[in-house]
């Protein structure tokens, strides 16, 4: 199991134990993390599971693929550390990953 931490815009933190192979979006929805809407259910088709990856984790998480980068055009306040959480797969070396939920989704 891999530990993930979500930080809401109001500062509230949510720590979850995630199964490897699941997505950061799925774990947020399963544990009721507010602000991750995931309207399309994880198809990389809506940009409503947008998160900011903690600066320290950016290298480990890696860069979005072209399709995700396209979809990020629809997100709100996109920054260099923006990712769609449905496209980040949980794996061992992400143990301790911290992501921030934006103020709003699109």
């Amino acid at each position: 199991m891999t530990k993930l931490t979500y930080i809401a815009p109001d500062g509230a933190t949510f720590e979850v134990e995630a199964e490897d192979g699941s997505t950061v979006m799925e774990n947020a929805v399963r544990h009721g993390v507010p602000g991750i809407e995931a309207e399309c259910g994880g198809a990389c088709a809506c940009a409503t599971c947008h998160v900011y990856v903690d600066e320290e984790w950016m290298d480990a998480v890696g860069q979005p693929e072209a399709m995700e980068e396209d979809m990020l055009d629809f997100a709100y306040d996109v920054r260099p550390n923006s990712r769609l959480s449905c496209q980040i797969r949980v794996r061992e070396d992400l143990d301790g990953l911290v992501v921030r939920v934006p103020e709003r989704q699109g």
Binding site: E39, C40, A43, A45, C46, A47, T48, A66, E69, D70, L72, D73, F74, Y76, D77, V78, R104, G106
Partner: protein
Amino acid sequence: MKEAIRTDVLIVGAGPVGLFAVFELGLLDLKCHLIDILDRPGGQCTELYPEKPIYDIPAWPVISGQELVDRLMEQIRPFEPQFTFNRMVAGLERLPEGGFRATTDEGEVFEAKVVVIAAGGGSFQPKRPPIPGIEAYEGKSVFYAVRRMEDFRGEDLLIVGGGDSALDWTLNLQPLAHRLTLVHRRAEFRAAPDSVNRMLALKEAGKLDFRIGQVKALEGEDGILRGAVVKGPEGDFEVACTRLLPFFGLTMKLGPIADWGLNLDENLIPVDTERFETSQPGIFAIGDINHYPGKLKLILSGFHEAALMAQAAKRIVHPHEKVVFQYTTSSTSLQRKLGVTR
């Protein structure tokens, strides 16, 4: 008021569940008319994920969203469903003599004995970009669609986005505009490469501006736009403009359904699990938009709901007919309706 289009069943939403409802209702001799805000059938399947594989449609180990919709269209063809696209059902009222009158956002009128809401996540609407105070400019200086190009002649246009809508309107409106600026978050575009190349050629020729950035504030008063502040890679800059056209894709909103006098639970419509009828007799809700204990938002659940709803709708439309349960494999009368036997 336009003359009413009459049908047995008015289906609000032409996604997979609305389409399959045509089949189940058709087997029971009920004629259907479907209304959808998109310009083609399929709902989320064609709008959000036409090429994505679906793995949980019975007997289809894998099928794409578009292929599922194409197959459903083929399956319901014998029942000659009627479609009205690019329209939203704005109003719905019960008629004193029974049945319902529905009015679209463009003023068309429909009269039906039964209404089936198969509206999924709601109607697709343009996404409002998260710019503070943008609401005050909407309809005066900010537009999410171009209805008449002439309305933009001689204006200083700011178009925002990197998809086909943004690029197509940049190319179409550039000759009319006094000045046109395209703003997009990055140098890469989702839009067709040909459109991007044409836009870049116009930029080279000095006929439009292209800037990288995200709009963060608007300037003006009483809905009259003067300019926009854009956050760029090297800091903020201003773009003078009198019209703003943001193209940030579509989102789903419940919309006018909330005003039809139905009981709602959050943004869902509670139904019973025998008839899938709403709190208003004669109005049914199937697919992702309904809710009942144990509800699963799966296409296959919507198909089941459509079959049971059809039985209840039949009793409303043809109250004196006896409904005999039949299988399509063996019933010649059903096969005749499907056009597979004489």
